[in-house]
Amino acid sequence: MTSPLLDVEDLSKRFGGFVAVDGVSLSVKPGERLGLIGPNGSGKSTLVNCICGTLHHESGSVRFEGRALDGLPAHQRTRLGIARSFQLPRPFTSMSVMENVRIPLLYTVNARPGPKQSARAIEERCAELIQLVGLAGKARKWPRDLTQVEMRKLELARAMAAEPKLLIADEAMAGLSHSEIDDILALLMRLNERGITIILIEHIMRAVMSFSQRVVVLVSAKKIADAPPERIIQDPEVVRAYLGQ
Amino acid sequence: MNFPVELFINSMIAGLLLGGFYAAVTSGISISFGILDIVNIAHPAFIILGSYIAYILNTRFGFDPVLVSIVMLPVFYWLGAAVYQVYYLSFEQRGQEALRGLAFFFGLLFVTEVGLILVFGVDYRYVQAPYIGPSIRLAGFDLPLRMLVPFLLSLLLFAVLQLILTRSFIGRAIMAVSQDPLALRLMAADPIRIKRAAFGLSIATAALAGALLIVIQPVEPSVGREYIGRVFAICVLGGLGSLPGTLIAAMLLGVVESLTSTFYGPSWAPAVAFGLLLLTLAFRPSGILGR
């Protein structure tokens, strides 16, 4: 039994009086593909924000590779190997697509111990990443010239640029066409084959079910199920709360 | 050395009266900065503008400064609404409030101050009214009417604002817009209109605060800048957007300032508010009542 890569224990987060995440525990093994689903407002993004350090949770703990992350600022978690894409794309608006992707290379990859990448290598890596997510030809464009879908791809490219061990994709595929979804899924699959653990948050069932080895279901801030996809679709509670209606 | 009790109590009373007035001055910022999240550093400029309008009408026609300010309330309301409209169209809508919006208000503050200097010079101006001068004696202590009247009017203003914000439809809408603009839109209320009304309200309070200011002390154009520190210190100390917290913080500042100038000399007083602000920001950014 391998030790978990990410271990979330009894995590709670409240906004004022409102509990957005309520005692969620979750553990992800290295190399796993985890799906995270739940109705709108069930707390998925908030959970991700707590894992990544974007928000500070009140109680519970997050461990990554056995190391407690509590109190670590977000940029250090990124450097440790947790990268995420934002649900609502947050590009750096005064920079070109290319420069957007360059930031994590400058500040995460080159901030890790070991040999630094040269400016030339960084340039090539940016181009490669942009190509991978299907933004080739848009490298010199500004974020404001991109469509919503392209911005999601940029989010993904920027997260991948940090060379993470764990990649959390928060609804990276919303609004994409069938073939584009398949492209992104294939891309994530290839990353996974290279050993990167992936948490996929998605409303598109077809994508989640085909991609994930295991699915976690959040409903109104609580975890109600944690099982392989084929069991999830049969779980009566999940069906009642989420899938059915 | 024995402790000068009487001096101390007199100074406390003066501080409390002053604090009540500070609360009135801050109520406007409490709405714009605390509730609407608009960092209107030009607010004191509007207060000074209010002082000068009271001054002009008082010296030319002998009108009562407070009466003048009450007549000016709607004018200031519309002025505020217009400023918000400009702010919204030019900055908020484009997401540029952090840098350019602040610079815009700074520019307004500056232009108002320099404009007033050009018209009126840097001399101190004051008004005449029956309640400036006499004082009443209560339990052996002097209560100057010059301070007492603004104090009572400030409390009145405060009570009215609190009522408006918690009881009226527009007031509740204002509170709602600060929490959840989306929900408000579902209620078919236009958040921009609500914010404009709230900002107008916040500037309207400046008319009254300005009149009270010139009743309390002679005014010259740069007095406004001293109040920037005070109002933001009180607003932050009181917890953003909480009117009761603002009242407590204002009293606190009034007393501390008054004690400082009694026991260390008035030249130290300006540093009190700012020092308090820096300390609050450093150690208790959510305010005294905050969690």
């Binding site: 940029h75 934002f86 | 520019g107």
Partner: protein, 439 residues
């Protein structure tokens, strides 16, 4: 151009300017030039934090004054050469910048701005109550008459300030193109996304406040020797606070050249203008230009030249009425300053004309330039005490016409008609009573 190369080029340019200035006979040139250079440093310093990171510092005057008062203190204890004083001033202001940032930068951005406002008042109160440096009365710092090899001491001060300018401009440019500069830009764009990309935002913000504060302190260090007599009112003067914000905003905040352009433009105009008009009117114009630019040309002059396309801009009656009221203020006050002030009025309107024209062309509303035309026309009206009345009438009739009829044509027609009437009336009045011209 690579940064080291640029630095060498800037150094050479600085040396050439200095060498050329040796042929200037007029001492006034050095006094004026010193101030312009000082503003280039202040604007560049402000821009490192404000323009690159997006954090507004209202306390430039405080950092500047700290440098100046560090010099006063040292002067009283043991006089030292200017370069040493600059270093000391830089260290003092840099430390204060770091401390202010450390206290407030973890909170929402607005708190930092408010804290810098507060800082200026706290420091001024401290200085006023500190007798060693003269308190409220101020302190005399006798400037030596000459400096070995260079001749007059003011030339030496000018040279030192020129060197500091070269260093800070080259430094700002180097930062802009470095990893640090990219990091700053991510902070300006989106701090959450920056953190998620591994950018240590707090540390970078502290670096920026420290560098920015230190440069301001360095600019302030030679000031006591320049002015000869320092009192809190001048050292903490409003001019520093407003100019160091207005200059980058007008020049353009996203690149190093913006503050330089803004400082040269505004600094020179102000230096020329102080001869003819009061410093209050001077500052009024700066403040108004600041408001104009943040609304009409958010990316400054650099943006006007560089941006071929822009996002949607609303041209709303409210916005233009406000701008118009503001922009008439200097005309009114300049009218009171006498004939000589007219040229200043023209310069001011020329700047505004350029801005409005460029902006109007971008958004397809060329008629916007009607406004500066009117303004320029007004400032040509012979100076009479009636000029303010004329401008008020123009303003209000335009406002009414705007709301009543189709905006562009209405504004054009009404303003032209009133303009002509106003000018004829003004001229007639002028001829009948020449004594009306106020000095």
């Amino acid at each position: 151009m690579r940064s080291p190369v640029f630095f060498v080029v800037a150094l050479v340019v600085g040396a050439v300017v200095f060498a050329a200035s040796r042929y200037v006979e007029n001492e006034y040139f050095f006094f004026a030039g010193y101030v312009v250079l000082q503003f280039i440093v202040l604007a560049t310093a402000w821009n490192i934090l404000g323009g690159y990171c997006g954090y507004v510092n209202f306390g430039s005057a405080a950092f500047f004054a700290l440098g100046a008062y560090a010099t006063v203190t040292i002067h009283k204890l043991y006089p030292m050469p200017i370069p040493v004083l600059m270093l000391v001033g830089g260290v003092v202001s840099g430390i204060v910048g770091f401390a202010t940032g450390y206290l407030t930068l973890r909170l929402r951005g607005a708190f930092f701005a408010i804290a810098t406002l507060a800082l200026a008042v706290v420091l001024q109160t401290l200085i006023i109550n500190w007798d060693f440096v003269g308190g409220a009365r101020g302190a005399y710092v006798i400037r030596p008459n000459s400096f070995p090899l260079l001749g007059s001491y003011i030339q030496y001060l000018f040279g030192m300030m020129l060197l500091l300018t070269v260093i800070s401009v080259a430094g700002a440019r180097a930062i802009e193109r470095s990893r640090l500069g990219y990091g700053f830009a991510t902070i300006r764009d989106d701090e959450l996304a920056a953190e998620a990309s591994g950018v240590p935002t707090l540390r970078l913000k502290l670096i920026a406040t420290t560098i920015s504060g230190a440069l301001m302190g360095m600019a302030g260090a030679p000031f006591p020797y320049y002015i000869g007599y320092v009192e809190p009112g001048t050292a903490f003067g409003l001019a520093y606070a407003v100019n160091s914000i207005a200059m980058p905003m007008i020049g353009g905040t996203t690149s190093w050249i913006g503050p330089v352009i803004g400082a040269i433009l505004l600094g020179t105009v102000q230096q020329v203008a102080t001869v003819t008009i009061s410093s209050a009117v001077n500052l009024l114009i700066v403040g108004i230009l600041l408001v104009d630019f943040v609304i009409i040309a958010p990316n400054g002059i650099v943006g006007l030249v560089r941006d071929r396309r822009i996002g949607s801009t609303t041209v709303e009656p409210t916005v233009f009425v406000l701008l118009y009221v503001l922009n008439l203020l200097p005309t009114i006050f300049l009218a009171k300053q006498g004939q000589a002030a007219q040229s200043i009025g023209l310069v001011f309107w020329a700047i505004l004309f350029f801005v409005t024209y460029a902006r109007g062309r971008m958004i397809g509303r060329v008629w916007l330039m009607v406004f500066p035309w009117i303004g320029a026309g007004l400032s040509l009206v012979p100076v009479t005490s009636e000029t303010p009345v004329v401008s008020t009438v123009v303003l209000w009739s335009q406002g009414v016409a705007w709301l009543a009829i189709d905006p562009p044509t209405a504004v054009l027609i009404v303003s032209l008609v009133i303009q002509v009437i106003g000018m004829i009336y003004g001229a007639a009045l002028e001829r009948r009573t020449p004594a009306m011209t106020t000095p």
